[in-house]
């Protein structure tokens, strides 16, 4: 019962934060709403007895990703940040989203999810699995990260000024 209360609180936080992200007129506020949501998701992980994931969530999302996003915001149009506008297709977006929600909820109820009692996995269990059974995908994932890192570096590093079409002096000028 206590967990349900905690869960409801976190869920409210998640949904509210998410709505804040997608509706906020101020980009900085949106980033803060995102941080709230991500932290609440970490709380959900803890409730689900996945402590390791909760830690990862806080470290990577709450730390790295949010910071990078804020960096990006600062490096681009600051003057518009306080008053961003939405697409002209936003009413259609609402309709599509609600429709998808209906489909998903319908699917959830149609599949009648039934779970056994809540059981967690210790750090040790996750670590063992990750470095034995999932070792190869794990290594591939790290390779993906490396490639993404190098790619991001090359892309962001190249020169050029606003108005350049960037085709002649693409990021691989180094």
């Amino acid at each position: 019962m206590g967990s349900l209360i905690a869960y409801s609180f976190l869920a409210a936080l998640i949904v509210g934060g998410a709505l804040g992200v997608v509706t906020s007129r101020n980009v900085a506020h949106a980033a803060l709403f995102l941080l709230t949501t991500l932290a609440a998701v970490a709380g959900i992980f803890i409730l689900s007895l996945a402590e390791f994931l909760a830690l990862v969530q806080v470290l990577i999302y709450g730390g790295a990703i949010t910071i990078v996003l804020l960096f990006a915001l600062m490096l681009t149009r600051l003057e518009e940040f306080s008053n961003v506008r939405d697409n002209t297709q936003w009413p259609m977006a609402i309709i599509a989203s609600v429709a998808l929600l209906v489909v998903l909820v319908g699917a959830i109820f149609a599949s009648r999810p039934s779970g056994a009692a809540l059981r967690g996995a210790s750090f040790q269990e996750v670590g063992t699995q990750l470095f034995t059974k999932w070792a190869v995908p794990f290594e591939v994932a790290s390779l993906v990260l490396l490639v993404a890192l190098v790619g991001a570096f090359l892309l962001a590093r190249g020169g050029g000024n606003p108005g350049d079409d960037g085709i002649r002096d693409g990021g691989n000028r180094s």
Binding site: A96, A99, V103, G106, A107, A110
Partner: protein, 627 residues
């Protein structure tokens, strides 16, 4: 030794002359035009070898396979019998005379070489037409002579009237030619051959069991082939092109539109005569058309004032005589008349050319007069030709007309006979008028006062033809083992016997016509306006040539152009705009609309992806979950 087997050399030489003059000729002296007379001269020489071979060894045919496709086998060959060899001689002789004459007449004209090139092509095609032993081959030559006629009528194409006349001649004869082509193909479809002998054989056994050719089919195809003859030989109602064809140079009129090409129709019917004979209805049509032509056109020749047009209508009228003789089962008489008429009319046209040469290109008889003393040779020749055509003893025209009259009386009865006599009377009358108006009386124009005789080169063919016009009389007497020329041409026919009462009647008729001409135009005992004043309506109808041209013009303006306009509109709107451009335009328009969905904006694409996902979800819901 040259013989019948080498007869193909005659057209071949002329064809080569055409190619040489037309293509590299302009680098030769005088544009290489001298090749034309040279070629036709050698063809004329070959003719004598062919003729002697024919008289010695009798008729023969030579043919080889031209093309073979499956069961279809088309031959390319020549038929050499009395008819075709005689025609060969006529063509090569008149062509030779006219080319010699043209050498002087056309000197100084532009396109001198081209003139002789087309002349050579014409001679070649005409000889092929005469020699051809199958209808397809003949049809090719038939169209080729039509082409030459077109080119020569329109020789002065800078003149609008000449270009129009050429077009008119081409289109009008084409109407008949289409019928002829249909007839030929119809015969091919039923009989299975283009060979004239094969078709005649089938026709002679028409209606017998096992013969694919039915009587009705024979009549229909013969009438269609006759349509070609009507067009080419300028028979009523397709005669309208021939008078206009006088826009061409006068020697051309002499050769093509008097002596040779226009008689191709007569030759065709004569060649196919055994087949025509088996189709009585077709024969009646031939006779009636011939009679109408002979009669109506002889009236028109009376009112014309242009010297060449008088001769043109006279030509049409006499072609009608020939057709009438054919329709009265008289091949010999028809071809006999063809020959005498060819000589006389070629000479008359050449004389007319000489006259207009003498009076500096004038053609209107009202501006001539009194030329007898100034152009004595021309006058003599023209008088001989006119009297021969009028049918006065002892000129050749008398005998051929006599043969025609006898044939008509025997074959078609008194009504046709009397009407033919009427036409013969007018024939004499307009000939008298022509000669008297041009050569007697006082000069009526400045040019006529200062007329001069033509150069010798022009007079030689004139005199030669004049001598032939007189000399052709021998054709009425036994020749080469036959009773006369007519039987020589068509041995299967009965020889007409010389009948004294008939000869007397025709002489009286001709004499009456000549006398009337003399009274009106010679002594002015009767005023020329005598008839005009009394029958103004008749005069008006004649001067408008029976309104036939106006009628055709009306048909073309209102019906042909109307239908054509509708068809063109249909083509432009339904076929072109809707049928051809429509799909293209609709594709372009659809594309223009469709390309708008490519907005280039990522949110739009994302939206479409989501909608697709929703649709997939719904489908899954409907088919996987609910089921």
């Amino acid at each position: 030794m040259l013989g019948m087997e080498q007869a193909w050399l005659q057209p071949a030489i002329c064809a080569v002359a055409f190619v040489v003059i037309a293509l590299p000729g302009r680098v030769l002296p005088r544009s290489g035009a001298w090749l034309g007379p040279l070629a036709i001269l050698s063809a004329f020489v070959i003719f004598w070898f062919v003729l002697s071979d024919l008289l010695k060894n009798g008729p023969a045919t030579f043919s080889f396979t031209w093309l073979e496709a499956g069961d279809v086998r088309i031959m390319w060959g020549m038929i050499l019998d009395n008819l075709s060899v005689s025609m060969l001689g006529l063509v090569s002789f008149v062509a030779l005379g006219v080319q010699v004459y043209s050498w002087a007449y056309m000197s100084g004209e532009p396109r001198f070489g081209w003139y002789f090139a087309v002349h050579s092509l014409f001679a070649a095609s005409m000889m092929v037409l005469v020699l051809a032993d199958n209808l397809l081959f003949m049809y090719i030559a038939w169209e080729l002579v039509g082409l030459c006629s077109y080119l020569l009528i329109g020789f002065y194409y800078e003149r609008r009237s000449a270009a129009e006349a050429a077009k008119k001649a081409f289109v009008t004869t084409r109407i008949g030619d289409v019928g002829m082509l249909i007839g030929i193909l119809l015969l091919y479809k039923t009989v299975g051959t283009f060979d004239i002998s094969g078709i005649i054989h089938a026709a002679q056994h028409v209606g017998e069991p096992g013969n694919p050719l039915s009587s009705v089919m024979l009549t229909v195809s013969m009438l269609l082939i006759f349509a070609g003859a009507v067009g080419k030989s300028a028979q009523f109602p397709l005669h309208v092109w021939l008078p206009d064809a006088m826009e061409g140079p006068t020697p051309v009129s002499a050769l093509i539109h008097a002596a040779t090409m226009v008689v191709a129709g007569v030759y065709l019917v004569a060649r196919m005569f055994p087949a025509f004979e088996m189709a009585p209805t077709a024969m009646t049509v031939v006779a009636v058309i011939g009679l109408i032509t002979a009669l109506l056109m002889s009236f028109l020749a009376v009112v014309m004032t242009d010297i060449k047009r008088v001769l043109a209508y006279s030509t049409v009228s006499h072609l009608g005589f020939m057709m009438l003789a054919l329709g009265s089962f008289g091949v010999g008489a028809a071809i006999f008349h063809l020959f005498t008429h060819a000589f006389a009319k070629a000479m008359l046209f050449l004389s007319a050319g000489s006259v207009s040469h003498g009076v500096h290109g004038k053609l209107d008889m009202r501006e001539m007069g009194g030329l007898r003393s100034k152009m004595p040779v021309t006058f003599a020749c023209m008088a001989i030709g006119a009297l021969s055509l009028a049918g006065l003893f002892p000129l050749s025209g008398f005998f051929s007309k006599d043969a025609v009259l006898g044939t008509v009386l025997a074959g078609r009865g008194p009504v046709f006979f009397i009407l033919t006599l009427v036409a013969a009377f007018f024939s004499a009358f307009y000939m008298a008028r022509l000669v008297l108006v041009v050569f007697t009386g006082q000069p009526r124009s400045h040019e006529a006062e200062h007329a001069h005789e033509s150069p010798v080169l022009m007079l030689i063919p004139l005199v030669a033809l004049a001598l032939l016009t007189i000399g052709a009389t021998v054709l009425a007497f036994p020749i080469a083992g036959h009773a006369n020329f007519g039987q020589f041409i068509y041995p299967a026919g009965e020889a007409e016997h010389f009948q004294l009462w008939l000869a007397g009647l025709s002489t009286v008729t001709a004499g009456a016509g000549l006398l009337m001409g003399w009274l009106i135009y010679g002594t002015h005992a009767i005023s020329p306006s005598f008839f005009r004043d009394r029958f103004p309506a008749v005069q008006r109808v004649l001067e408008h040539k029976y309104y036939i041209d106006d009628f055709y013009q009306w048909v073309i303006d209102h019906i042909v152009l109307g239908v054509g306009g509708f068809v063109a509109l249909f083509d432009r709107i339904v076929i072109n705009d809707v049928g051809i451009n429509g799909p293209g335009r609709s594709v372009v328009q659809t594309g223009n609309k469709l390309r708008l969905h490519v907005t280039g904006q990522l949110p739009n694409y994302a939206m479409v992806m989501v909608l697709g996902a929703i649709v997939i979800g719904v489908i899954w819901w409907l088919f996987a979950v609910r089921a």
